[in-house]
């Protein structure tokens, strides 16, 4: 990388100029826990690195009206330490907590986890399940996009040249709404998901599900929103019949790869099991939450 340059702008506009003005590849840098590994291995050869961590408001979590706003470069540790957010969206925090070791947590951000565009990214299914929105800044001004619209394939995003994500907005949960994320790995720590599943449910006063979103990770080139699984939940309680329809729908949504962590058959089966388990946890949490989180 003889021609690499590094810049750490202090405003969003300067960052856009640095990203848009580069002739070769320009890469935003958040925690660097993917970017530096890929630069070292030669998989990515940027010409310009734009460290976004010196831009005010890009690190930290705040509440704004009906949403939480998560600055793009906020490291995992800071999100898990945010009490109101952890209460509101325990499933998102579960996903974030699973990313790497404590050392990785000191740096790794949600935005890097998303924009690295790995099908196995642990924070993404629960973010999509929670209807999180990315706020994107670029040469054409600001725009918003649903989190599920960002990743288009392994290593690929829909962000255009000069664009970068400045923050996420996550709506605050309603009364009796909650979430959960589970992943399956062959060991207890430090591995990549064989399957991940994020579930967000809303119940009515009698315990019937009124709204749901079920999202799988690591079973297809991008995260998959399993509409059929959500439909299986809506209007129902968590009885055996509902759970088996959910399980079957999750399995049908899988188009996984075969690799050393799991065969196609195994990943598909595990997707059904995780969907059941995560849904049970989300239901219990939602039932226990009579008031919304505000």
């Amino acid at each position: 990388m003889p021609n690499l340059s590094f810049t750490a702008p202090t405003t969003v506009d300067e960052a856009i100029r640095a990203l848009a003005g580069a002739q070769g590849l320009a890469k935003p840098l958040a925690g660097g826990t993917d970017l530096l590994v890929q630069m070292r291995s030669g998989r990515t050869r940027p010409e310009v690195i734009v460290d976004i961590k010196r831009i005010p408001d890009l690190i930290g979590v705040r509440e704004a009206g009906d949403s939480f706003v998560i600055g793009a470069a906020t490291p995992g540790v800071m999100l898990s330490e945010h009490e109101a957010f952890s209460r509101a969206w325990p499933g998102i925090v579960e996903g974030v907590d699973l990313i790497g070791s404590q050392q990785i947590q000191g740096r790794a951000s949600l935005v890097g986890n998303l924009c690295n565009a790995s099908p196995a990214a642990d924070s993404v299914p629960a973010m999509i399940a929670a209807h999180a929105v990315a706020v994107i800044a670029g040469p054409g001004g600001k725009r918003e996009a649903a989190v599920e619209a960002i990743v288009t394939g392994p290593g690929q995003t829909s962000l255009k040249k000069g664009e970068f994500i400045i923050e996420f907005r996550v709506p605050k949960p309603k009364p009796r709404q909650s979430d959960a994320y589970l992943r399956f790995i062959p060991r207890t720590e430090m591995d990549i998901a064989v399957v991940g599943c994020g579930v967000n449910v809303t119940l009515d006063g009698s315990g019937l599900c009124t709204d749901a979103r079920v999202v799988l990770g690591a079973v297809a080139p991008t995260q998959v929103i399993v509409t059929e699984a959500a439909e299986a939940l809506k209007g129902h309680r968590l009885d055996d019949d509902t759970l088996s329809r959910l399980d079957a729908a999750a399995q049908r949504a899988c188009k996984p790869i075969n690799d050393k962590r799991g065969t196609i058959e195994y990943r598909t089966k595990v997707a059904g099991v995780l969907a059941r388990r995560a849904t049970k946890i989300a239901f219990e949490r939602a039932a226990g939450r009579v008031a919304g989180v505000h």
Partner: protein, 165 residues
């Protein structure tokens, strides 16, 4: 490409250095500043031998650019003892023989100090999870965990018996 000029604080001392944009903080510590206590085991964030404390959070210095250190406060293994006085974690590593080849030891000690700064009374399980990003090929981890839990006891003012030699 132009070198980056960086001013930072390492182990309480103001430090200035020049680095190439692609140099990691670990490269800078070892190659420019002669702070060779932090080790490079993997250069990919997996082994923790390069662990440093950055503004209160422990991070892998192999996954951070030297240029990112501008204006930050960094503690390396060289800053853990106070002068000649070993930190309780260091003392207990010696007493428990919690090292063999020693390559992983600086990373473990920095990580253990970061744990005890945050949690005075970790359970064994908490200590094991906290240290899951530090790999050791020699000890089997058990003595490391005993040393860390004993160091915690010392820091709480208790007086755990030293292990039999």
């Amino acid at each position: 490409m132009a070198k980056q000029h960086v001013s930072t604080i390492i182990n309480g001392e103001p430090v200035e250095f020049l680095c190439e944009p692609q140099q990691t903080l670990l490269d800078v510590l070892r190659d420019e500043l002669n702070l060779t206590g932090s080790k490079e085991g993997c250069a990919s964030g997996d082994c923790g031998a390069c662990t440093v404390i950055l503004d209160g959070n422990m991070v892998c210095s192999c996954l951070m650019l030297g240029a990112e250190a501008e204006g930050r406060k960094i503690t390396t293994i060289e800053g853990i003892a106070e002068g000649d006085k070993l930190h309780p974690v260091q003392q207990k590593f010696l007493e428990h023989a919690a090292l063999q080849c020693g390559f992983c030891t600086p990373g473990f000690i920095v990580a253990a100090k970061a744990l005890l700064d945050e949690n005075k009374n970790p359970t064994e399980e908490e200590a094991r999870y906290w240290l899951a990003g530090n790999l050791c090929r020699c000890t089997g981890y058990d003595k490391i965990i005993r040393a860390v839990l004993d160091a915690a006891a010392v820091m709480r003012g208790e007086n755990p018996p030293s292990p039999a030699a």
